[in-house]
């Protein structure tokens, strides 16, 4: 179909079409729903008075726009993610011993956790193979760091980026670790171009440069991966579980206070393997499916889910659907670094649905929860107390 002259739509509204133009118009109009909608929009626009389209009456969106610009790096990341193939999400319980690695190679050059100063705990930090720690405050441009011939750059909005320098081959495998504080998320690009979006209170250990074999990283907490296609396996180790992909996107959640592993696949293919206490099972996931690995019970199951519920955090939202209040508040408490107390344990089983902006602040979020339920939330510094409305 040829492009229709916009002026024909105007003439249609004025009732001035010739017979042949009318035919052309009808053909265009019926071609798609969008066209019909546009024609209606055009009619509405034409009916507007001069005052309604004056410059003074344009709503001022400067503040909203600047907020959007500030959140931009996150958004750009998600759009990129969703454009591609698979999104997997994997919540998991982690024992205390997670950072005592069974893999010696992984262990050799990582600094001892104890070396991290107490004050660093509340800040997002990078620990390099030689034991240096760098505070990664958001919004501050920082100097370039070099580790084993790999350049590490910190960008204002984009986060960390690892760049392999040509001609220089690392002598040994060097590992870095990124540790985000509560209420802070961070984005980094690994040397193979894989992008990782690390949620708050999480740790990721990764080699500064991947060798010739498979690519392997270790996670505690939650992260969203956009794995670049290199033809080599990409494996995320989480406690006694592995998620294996060959160039795709997925999200892994592994906070120690969650008691099950949930691997959610949006599209593409991912293999989940468990190897612990004599259990050796693996599962290929289909898009829209969620594998649930209950560590304590030793049970591996699979169900269909709405994947958006498990990936919304990347976009700056908490999303819940018919979830227990205890689960909802645990997620919120993790982000805001608070403790939750219940007047009555029955309250924990109340069910909630909704979408909350995690940057709105705790007060706003607790207000919203109060509005849609019969519970009352009292916010008191770092503690919230949940009770029934009177």
């Amino acid at each position: 179909m040829k492009n229709l002259d916009l002026d024909i739509l105007r003439k249609k509204l004025d009732g001035k079409l010739t017979f042949s133009e009318e035919k052309e118009f009808q053909e265009w109009l019926m071609a798609s729903r969008e066209n019909i909608a546009f024609f209606n929009h055009m009619k509405n626009y034409r009916d507007k008075s001069m005052e309604e389209v004056s410059l003074e009456s344009v709503p001022n969106t400067t503040d909203l726009f600047m907020k959007r610009l500030n959140r931009r790096s996150h958004k750009a990341f998600i759009n990129k993610m969703l454009k591609y193939a698979a999104v997997v999400l994997l919540p998991l319980s982690i024992g205390v011993g997670l950072w005592v690695y069974s893999n010696n190679e992984m262990n050799q050059s990582l600094v001892d956790q104890n070396q991290i100063n107490k004050e660093d705990i509340n800040q997002t930090i990078l620990i390099t193979s030689n034991g240096n720690t760098y505070k990664l405050e958001s919004g501050v441009e920082q100097a370039v760091v070099e580790d084993q011939g790999v350049k590490i750059r910190k960008y204002l909005r984009a986060g960390l980026k690892y760049e392999e320098q040509e001609g220089i081959k690392a002598k040994s495998v060097a590992y870095n670790m990124l540790h985000t504080s509560k209420g802070d998320d961070y984005q980094l690009e690994l040397s193979d171009g894989t992008i990782v979006y690390l949620n708050g209170d999480s740790k990721l250990k990764y080699p500064v440069s991947f060798g010739d074999n498979e690519r392997r990283v270790q996670l505690q907490g939650e992260a969203f991966f956009d794995v670049s296609k290199t033809g080599k396996r990409f494996v995320v180790e989480v406690d006694d579980m592995e998620v294996e992909v060959l160039g795709t996107q997925f999200n892994v959640m592994a906070y120690e206070n969650e008691n099950s592993i949930q691997t959610t696949l949006v599209s593409g293919k991912v293999k989940v393997s468990i190897n612990t206490n004599g259990i050796d099972e693996s599962l290929m996931l289909e898009p829209g499916n969620q594998a649930i690995w209950n560590h304590k019970e030793g049970e591996l199951g699979c169900k269909k889910v709405d994947t958006k519920l498990y990936t919304s955090w990347v976009n700056g939202y908490f999303r819940f659907e018919d979830q227990r209040l205890e689960d909802v508040l645990r997620t919120i408490a993790r982000w805001y670094d608070i403790k939750v107390f219940y007047h009555n344990p029955d309250l924990k089983n109340k069910r909630l649905s909704g979408r909350l902006n995690k940057l709105k602040g705790l007060e706003v979020i607790s207000d919203m929860i109060e509005k849609v339920s019969d519970i009352e939330i009292e916010v008191n510094n770092k503690v919230i107390v949940v009770s029934m409305k009177e």
Partner: protein
């Protein structure tokens, strides 16, 4: 005005968020009305305008030869044309472009020299005071309050004149045979 914009341009190249905010604040209303005239939807218009600003912010190396203002209009115009194309629509006689310039009070040779010239001829035929007010607003970029002060009339009178000018120009655009002929003439000339 020109030096001011050069300074702004430089500050934006240096990723100064306050300068960027000022730029958005200054041109948002005009760009929004311009886009809205094309896409006929406030939501899509707002989206288009914001996307253009985001692109500018994320690519500070974009070489802007004329001015930030004409760059912004140029980008918004292109985004609108793309949007129309996705619905198999085309502004063949550039009538929509003329209307968008009139509605957004942003008649500029930098947006489209031929169309702007045609509008300029139509402006020449406006009633005297109406024409003077409209020219000050469109060509000198004065705010309504500034025009009121300069001409010693009330802000409301300025507004009335601007509305009237826009209304007359819009009607002329679509009803004056002569103007239409000229537009058509331009198109056929371009095709050759």
């Amino acid at each position: 005005m020109i030096t001011e914009e050069r300074l702004l341009n430089q500050r934006i190249a240096e990723r100064d968020k306050n300068a960027f905010r000022l730029l958005f604040d200054t041109y948002h209303a005009q760009l929004f009305r311009f886009a809205e005239c094309y896409v006929c939807s406030p939501d899509i218009a707002e989206d288009i305008v914001q996307e253009v600003f985001i692109k500018l912010w994320e690519n500070p190396k974009i070489k802007i030869s004329r001015s930030l203002r004409s760059y912004l209009f140029f980008m918004v115009k292109n985004a609108c044309i793309d949007h129309l194309r996705s619905m198999k629509l085309e502004d063949k006689k550039k009538l929509k472009l003329a209307e968008a310039q009139i509605v957004s009070e942003s008649i500029s040779v930098n947006i489209d020299s031929e169309v702007s010239l045609k509008i300029k001829h139509a402006i020449d035929e406006l009633p005297a005071q109406c024409k003077e007010v409209y020219c000050l607003s469109v060509y000198s970029g004065l705010k309504h309050a500034e025009i009121a002060e300069e001409m010693g009339i009330s802000v409301n009178t300025v507004k009335v004149h601007v509305f009237r000018a826009k209304k007359i120009l819009k009607e002329r655009l679509y009803h004056l045979k002569e103007l239409l002929m000229l537009f058509t003439h331009l198109i056929t000339k371009n095709k050759k």
